[in-house]
């Protein structure tokens, strides 16, 4: 079974898509098929952690079938500690997305759910493929459903804003991945294979010409940085979040880019990643404050969530490019956290938008009485986002910040830590404007927009996510153990580049950092 599970996870959503396309588009039929199929995918993904040996280095559940001989492309998939939990995350978010769009999508839901399931395959494909060409295939494929669904099911279709947002999203990523393909071809021209392990060995062996390799790694970096998005390349996020349907927006940002940064930039080009690190750390630390401050002044909650996401994703980039054990595991954990929290917040904002038809926070007010379940679960998710201890956000943030502070640079860590204050300010501000008496419309008699409370299914979904947030917050070792073994190779290989990993426990004072930069 182990040898087959990954291709099974890839095939199940496709099978669901085909089933939806064939069956008629009557009432909730496509939605039910999509829900059952996504739950089946989730169950399949759960098989992975059940049979995963944490200590065993390298990839597990590997499958390597030759696909094409001419350009040597193989259907080579495998999972290690790094991608294990991300695959499970995609599996988890699949049904959550379907529930989130249960009421929102009424007309031609057949196309919606077909594309949605295609998106799941593409994302799982990105996380599991070890052949760079296969990876590139899934990477590009994951753009289409997001763009098409935003254009078709976006919010304000009237003035074409949804179409523009979809186009902007697609072009940002597609233009950035053109140099990526050239870099891939260059590597293929010099090594004759797309296989991750051989490429890693070839780069490490130093046989490839130096300055060109530099450009190749820059091409890789930019392509992934756009997808994260790192500060400066984030033009597409606010528009997409305020236009895209909820199920799409919750999976569009973060996960793919961050995983690719670790796997195909830091692990593939250790020396060059080491050189790019100072810039990335600076961008990430500023990104945290940038996102948090902009979120502070937003009037619409979609834009607020967009800038909050930019802030929390910058945490992950900060962790990755610190190359410390704590920092990197923290970054991967934070990616999973951002996925879980983002999904919950998106679902609830979707409910608010769908019933009140407006995303201006001032229009709401005093909903805590009308929608108690929504208020409590929203507060829990909000607190998880701003990193309240015993919830998952805190563990990720603490690891990233402590890793950066101790191992990388104290000034950047301190600046990043300021984000903690701002995030509390904007999230509580949002909670107050929407749920508590914000005095907005209360005073002039017109009650805040009437919003419906969560339906049974939605409450169960968000409650499951909330329990997961608490579980990760209380026992993160279940998750970080697998991640740490996978990142062992990276943090040690970084050792060779002079960034000594932080030895915390031995009590000796380690103020090591990269080149003594404080």
């Amino acid at each position: 079974m182990d040898g087959m599970i990954l291709s099974l996870i890839l095939v199940v959503p496709l099978a669901g898509m085909v089933a939806i396309l064939l069956l008629p588009d009557r009432g909730k039929l496509p939605a039910w098929i999509a829900l059952l199929d996504s739950l089946l995918t989730f169950v399949c993904t759960l098989h992975l952690p059940a049979h995963f040996h944490n200590q065993q280095a390298g990839f597990q559940f590997e499958e390597n079938l030759p696909w094409l001989s001419r350009p040597a492309i193989h259907f080579h998939v495998g999972v290690d500690g790094l991608s294990l939990w991300l695959v499970v995350l995609v599996g988890l978010l699949a049904p959550v997305g379907v529930v989130a769009s249960w009421r929102a999508v009424q007309k031609n839901s057949k196309v919606f759910y077909a594309m949605y399931l295609l998106q799941q395959t593409a994302m799982v494909g990105v996380f599991v493929s070890l052949d760079l060409m296969l990876y590139y295939g899934f990477w590009e494929l994951s753009l289409i459903p997001i763009a098409v669904l935003t254009a078709m099911f976006g919010r304000n279709l009237g003035d074409g804003a949804a179409g523009k947002a979809a186009l902007r999203f697609f072009l940002y990523t597609f233009l950035a991945s053109a140099p990526l393909l050239v870099a891939l071809l260059w590597l293929y021209a010099h090594t004759g294979s797309f296989d991750y392990a051989t490429l890693q060995a070839a780069v490490a062996s130093g046989t490839l010409p130096g300055w060109q390799l530099g450009w190749v790694s820059v091409a890789f970096l930019i392509a992934f940085a756009v997808k994260v998005p790192v500060l400066g390349l984030h033009g597409w996020l606010p528009d997409l979040f305020s236009e895209a349907p909820v199920a799409i927006a919750m999976i569009a940002a973060g996960k793919l880019g961050l995983y690719s940064l670790i796997r195909f930039h830091v692990e593939l080009f250790p020396a060059l990643a080491h050189r790019a690190a100072p810039w990335m750390i600076a961008l990430a630390a500023i990104g945290i404050l940038y996102g948090a401050m902009l979120a502070l002044v937003q009037k619409e909650f979609w834009k607020l969530l967009a800038y909050a996401t930019i802030g929390s994703l910058s945490f992950c980039t900060l962790g990755i490019y610190g190359f410390t054990a704590a920092g990197m595991s923290g970054a991967v954990l934070q990616t999973v956290n951002e996925g879980v929290i983002g999904a919950a917040l998106f679902l609830m904002f979707g409910v608010l938008y769908e019933s009140a038809r407006t995303s201006r926070m001032a229009d709401f007010g005093g909903l805590a009485r009308q929608t108690p379940r929504l208020a409590t679960l929203f507060t829990i998710a909000g607190l998880a986002l701003i990193g309240l201890p015993l919830l998952n956000g805190f563990v990720g943030e603490f690891l990233v910040l402590s890793g950066t502070f101790v191992g990388v640079s104290r000034s950047w860590a301190a600046i990043a830590a300021l984000g903690v204050i701002l995030s509390a300010a904007y999230m509580l501000g949002a909670i107050q404007k929407i749920f508590l008496a914000d005095g907005g419309d209360q005073q002039n008699g017109q009650a805040g927009r009437v919003a419906r409370d969560l339906t049974g299914m939605e409450t169960v979904t968000v409650a499951v996510l909330a329990v997961l947030m608490l579980a990760i917050g209380v026992q993160p070792t279940v998750w970080t153990e697998a991640m740490e073994s996978a990142l062992q190779t990276v943090t040690h290989s970084m050792h060779a580049q002079g960034a000594t990993p932080v030895r915390m426990e031995s009590g000796t004072v380690i103020a090591s950092s990269m080149g003594g930069r404080q």
Partner: protein
């Protein structure tokens, strides 16, 4: 040696269970069940603490460490678990927290009887107890930080309990954000500890420091300053005190529990817990002492002119906390903790009594509309009197012993100590003045209740009714504690805490110590006399004094406009920076602008190329011919001029 288990984790888990039960099912349960749950679990937790105290009394050696779950975070060599440690200091704190906590729960049953969201209130209260016990029992800084932010959350939820009132929501948000500023400092402090000690465990840090302190004074000061920032955030000292007065928006028992007895003392507890580090850096100690004294004096002045009874008590709490900081600052940690304990008793009592007064006057909080409640609410009156006497520092009451211990320790702490002592003494004077002012305005004189509203004679006094026994019982218990709390005496208390807080500088007995305590009592009496003068006999003395000091009065009433200054200096610039610099410059010009520019250029060139198709056949033919000509030139010129790489393959072309 089979030490009997103390079940430390249960102390925390009981209130958590209460929170879960009330939180999940409270809305559907009748009030009686909700209150039983809410009272049962804190009582159980108090029972465990009492049993532990009894065991310690019976000769059990402390500290005892037990762990809830083995590991919490274990990444890259950094390992931290859910370790619960009980030692003398945390035992004292636990007794206070769970004891006073339970009493306030009891009181709340009466006070919150006819409030909407009854179950929600008790769920949050239990949640608070859970986080406070975790904070006190934590064996390492990270677990303490969990409690630290947890109590911040609970206070946010409870302050904002009245969800219909915008001011409550704002106050809750303000409290949490200001606390978060303090937590930022605490976080940086923790990182410094990890960087320098590799661990956050108190015991391991203690052993590393006891051995040969490898860290320099400067780093120690840096760490302490960060921790102090955290402490000022939580214990409402300058500069992060602004949230406490607004926190009075929450129900009164909340103010009693959180903003008087337990949460605000977390800062003092943390400093006492890391005294080993503070001892290493005299500058940090000096900062603590100065901040404490300044806050004490400042808060006392503002308290003098407050008209809302709860605001007076809030500023009084800030002032008393200033004293505790002064105690820590001069190294008398045990004195500070002693004052913490006694303060918990009489300040909780003050708040609860005020609550009972407000309850009696059905929501009236403005002292100018009170008066003459002495006969209407005798028990509240007598218990409140005990508390007022205790806080002013009259002889047999608890306040005298603990405040006197702190002032004595300060007195001996060199010249700076003497200066702090004098300010402390003046603050003691102000303290007794505003407390007796409150006392007179609330209970004595004739009722000014109705006079303002509709003019008929009887006013509040007539239909002010005494609170039910369930509210009065805690008052009486706390009154007893306020009286007897101090009799333990600082020597025995310091002796008990000695293994944790280290060797306290002993006060040289004999006449200086006696002289100081007599002076303290005289100062308290002077305060009472002034208050009597102004407010005892209502009339012209108070009025004409107010005229002469009008400018100062306005300054104090405006609370030195600190809030406005903060908003102007911090909040407005951040919002302006975010909206304009980042919003316009960052988003619109740089990010969007660059993308728009690029697409514009490409689009424009597209437009030009589109124009190229003029549709006229002859222009097409012209382009075709031009292309052909170019091709010919290229082919011929290329070879003749020998462009790069041309010459080699068709060398004979030149012939």
């Amino acid at each position: 040696m089979n030490e009997p288990m103390l079940f430390l984790p249960l102390i925390a888990l009981f209130p958590f269970a209460g929170f879960l039960l009330n939180g999940l099912f409270g809305s559907r349960l009748p009030k009686a069940i909700v209150s039983t749950i809410a009272l049962l679990f804190p009582l159980l937790s108090f029972a465990v603490v009492a049993r532990a105290a009894w065991m310690v009394h019976g000769g059990m050696l402390l500290p005892v460490a037990e762990s809830g779950a083995p590991t919490w975070i274990a990444v890259g060599g950094f390992h931290v678990g859910f370790q619960f440690v009980l030692d003398q200091l945390s035992l004292v704190m636990l007794l206070v927290v769970t004891g006073v906590g339970f009493l306030i729960h009891l009181y709340s049953v009466g006070y919150m009887e006819h409030e909407q969201g009854y179950w929600r209130y008790f769920a949050y209260l239990n949640l608070f107890l859970f986080f406070m016990t975790v904070l006190v029992l934590a064996g390492n800084y990270l677990l303490m930080f969990v409690g630290w932010e947890g109590v911040g959350l609970a206070s946010y939820l409870l302050i904002g309990f009245y969800i219909d009132r915008k001011s409550a929501g704002d106050a809750g948000k303000k409290a949490f954000v200001v606390n978060r500023v303090g937590d930022f400092g605490f976080l940086i402090g923790m990182f410094l500890l990890i960087a320098n000690f590799g661990t956050l465990n108190f015991h391991r840090i203690g052993t590393q420091l006891a051995g040969h302190p490898a860290i320099s004074g400067a780093t120690a000061t840096l760490i302490c300053l960060c921790l102090i920032l955290g402490a000022t955030g939580k214990s409402a000292q300058i500069p992060l005190y602004i949230w406490l007065p607004d926190a009075m928006e929450g129900p009164t028992p909340v103010s009693a529990l959180i903003h008087a007895a337990t949460m605000v003392t977390a800062g003092v507890y943390m400093i006492a817990r890391t005294h080993a580090l503070f001892d290493l850096s005299p500058t940090a100690m000096m900062v603590v002492a100065v901040v404490g004294t300044a806050t004490a004096f400042f808060a006392a002045t503002v308290a003098m002119v407050q008209t809302d009874i709860k605001r007076v008590l809030a500023y009084s709490t800030i002032s008393q906390l200033g004293y505790m900081f002064l105690g820590c600052g001069v190294g008398a940690y045990s004195a500070a903790v002693f004052h913490l304990m006694t303060h918990a008793f009489f300040k909780a009592l003050l708040f609860l009594a005020a609550g009972s007064v407000i309850h009696g006057l059905s929501g009236e909080q403005d002292m100018r509309r009170m008066g003459g409640l002495r006969k209407a609410m005798p028990v509240t009156f007598w218990t409140m009197t005990a508390a007022v006497l205790a806080i002013s520092g009259f002889f047999p009451f608890a306040g005298f012993f603990s405040k006197d211990a702190i002032l004595a320790a300060a007195f001996q702490h060199g010249t700076l100590g003497k200066a702090l002592w004098t300010v402390g003494l003046i603050t003691a004077l102000l303290t007794s003045f505003y407390m007796f002012r409150l006392w007179y305005l609330t209970f004595l004189g004739e009722s000014r209740g109705a006079a303002h509203q509709d003019g008929h004679g009887d006013g509040h006094a007539a239909h002010a009714h005494e609170s039910p026994w369930i509210m009065l019982l805690p008052l009486v218990v706390l009154a007893l504690l306020s009286v007897t709390g101090g009799w333990i005496g600082i020597e025995r208390f310091a002796g008990f805490l000695e293994p944790v807080t280290g060797q306290a500088a002993m006060v040289d007995a004999g006449h200086t110590e006696l002289f100081l305590s007599v002076l303290a009592v005289l100062v308290a009496a002077l305060g009472w006399f002034l208050a009597h003068l102004f407010f005892g006999r209502d009339g012209e003395a108070a009025a004409q004094a107010a005229q002469s000091l009008a400018p100062i009065r306005r300054l104090l009433q405006g609370k030195y406009w600190i809030d406005e200054i903060y908003t102007a200096l911090i909040v407005r610039p951040v919002q302006w920076l975010a909206r304009f610099v980042l919003g316009w410059l960052g988003e619109w010009t740089l990010v969007r602008g660059s993308a728009w520019l690029m697409s514009g250029v490409v689009g424009l060139s597209g437009e030009l190329l589109r124009r190229w198709q003029s549709g006229n056949l002859r222009s097409y033919a012209a382009w075709l011919a031009a292309g052909a000509a170019a091709l010919l030139l290229f082919a011929l010129a290329g070879t003749l001029l020998g462009l790069n790489g041309f010459a080699d393959s068709i060398h004979w072309a030149v012939r």
